[in-house]
């Protein structure tokens, strides 16, 4: 029985190491940003998962101290790997690919180019409005000062 567990742990370790190596090699080898993104985010998660399961089995069977920390780490990694991949793909979409190259979406616009929320869009509109009002007021003040330029040292009324 010992031999079986030993073989299982060794196989998991070898598979994990192989997948980690393949993922990182893919990141060096693949041609453009999007394909490079997909190599490590999938394979390294699998490789690390295999290593963590091997570690859990080893500590549970040979050391007699089963710890569930590894399950926590692998759960955390499985939750966060898609999130980072999503954020990075959005960043690539915004920075590296021109907007004219993107296919038109069926409704609305690409999420990268839309404001984060309704309040953000509202604030943006308000900021633009305030800027225009300021410009208008500055123009009026200049006009007012120009009108009073020719007068002698009379009291200047407040604009």
């Amino acid at each position: 029985m010992e031999l079986f567990w030993e073989i299982l742990v060794s196989a998991l370790l070898v598979i994990g190491g192989f997948f980690g190596l393949v993922g990182s090699f893919g990141m060096v080898k693949l041609p453009d940003s999007m394909t490079r993104l997909h190599a490590p985010t999938k394979t390294t998660t699998l490789g690390v998962g295999c290593c963590l399961i091997a570690s859990m089995l080893w500590f549970g069977i040979f050391e007699g101290a089963l710890s569930l920390h590894e399950l926590m780490i692998s759960l955390f990694l499985f939750l966060t790997a898609p999130l980072t991949a999503h954020f990075l793909s959005k960043a690539i979409l915004l920075r590296d690919i021109p907007r004219s190259d993107l296919p038109p979406p069926t409704d609305g616009d690409w999420a990268v180019y839309t404001p984060l929320s309704d309040t953000a869009a509202h604030e943006l509109e308000e900021a633009v409005e305030i800027q225009e009002l300021r410009k208008e007021r500055a123009r009026l003040r200049r006009q007012h000062e120009d009108d009073w330029e020719g007068e002698l040292d009379g009291e200047r009324p407040e604009p």
Binding site: E6, I7, V9, S10, A11, L13, V14, G16, G17, F18, G20, L21, G23, S24, F25, M27, V28, S33, R36, L37, P40, T41, T44, T45, G47, V48, C51, L52, A54, S55, W58, F59, E63, A65, S67, H69, E70, M72, I73, F76, L77, T80, A81, L83, T84, F87, L88, K90, A91, I92, L94, R95, D96, V112, L116, A120
Partner: protein, 89 residues
């Protein structure tokens, strides 16, 4: 047998970290650098776990948990900074 498997896994992850380091140093864009750093954090977690088996000590899990959390937060912060030019809106 586990010893040889461990040596193989440690060698693989060391080589993978070297590949990632190459991608951090010579890379066509900023996003690739962030991706390489994120992969480095994940590979370092695997390396720490394998080293924990090698040493037979359960102390290394806390280090790997910390590595996982800090790696995730830093990657998301950097990507968000690229997306919005700001972290907290």
């Amino acid at each position: 047998m586990i010893t040889y498997a461990l040596i193989f896994a440690l060698g693989c992850y060391g080589l993978a970290l070297l590949f990632n380091l190459y991608r951090v140093v010579r890379s066509p864009g900023v996003t690739d650098r962030i991706l390489a750093l994120d992969t480095m954090a994940i590979n370092a977690i695997a390396l720490i776990v394998c080293f924990g088996i090698w040493e037979g000590s359960a102390m290394f899990f806390e280090a790997s948990i910390l590595y996982a959390m800090v790696g995730f937060v830093s990657t998301v912060a950097y990507a968000k900074f690229l997306l919005r030019g700001d972290l907290i809106e």
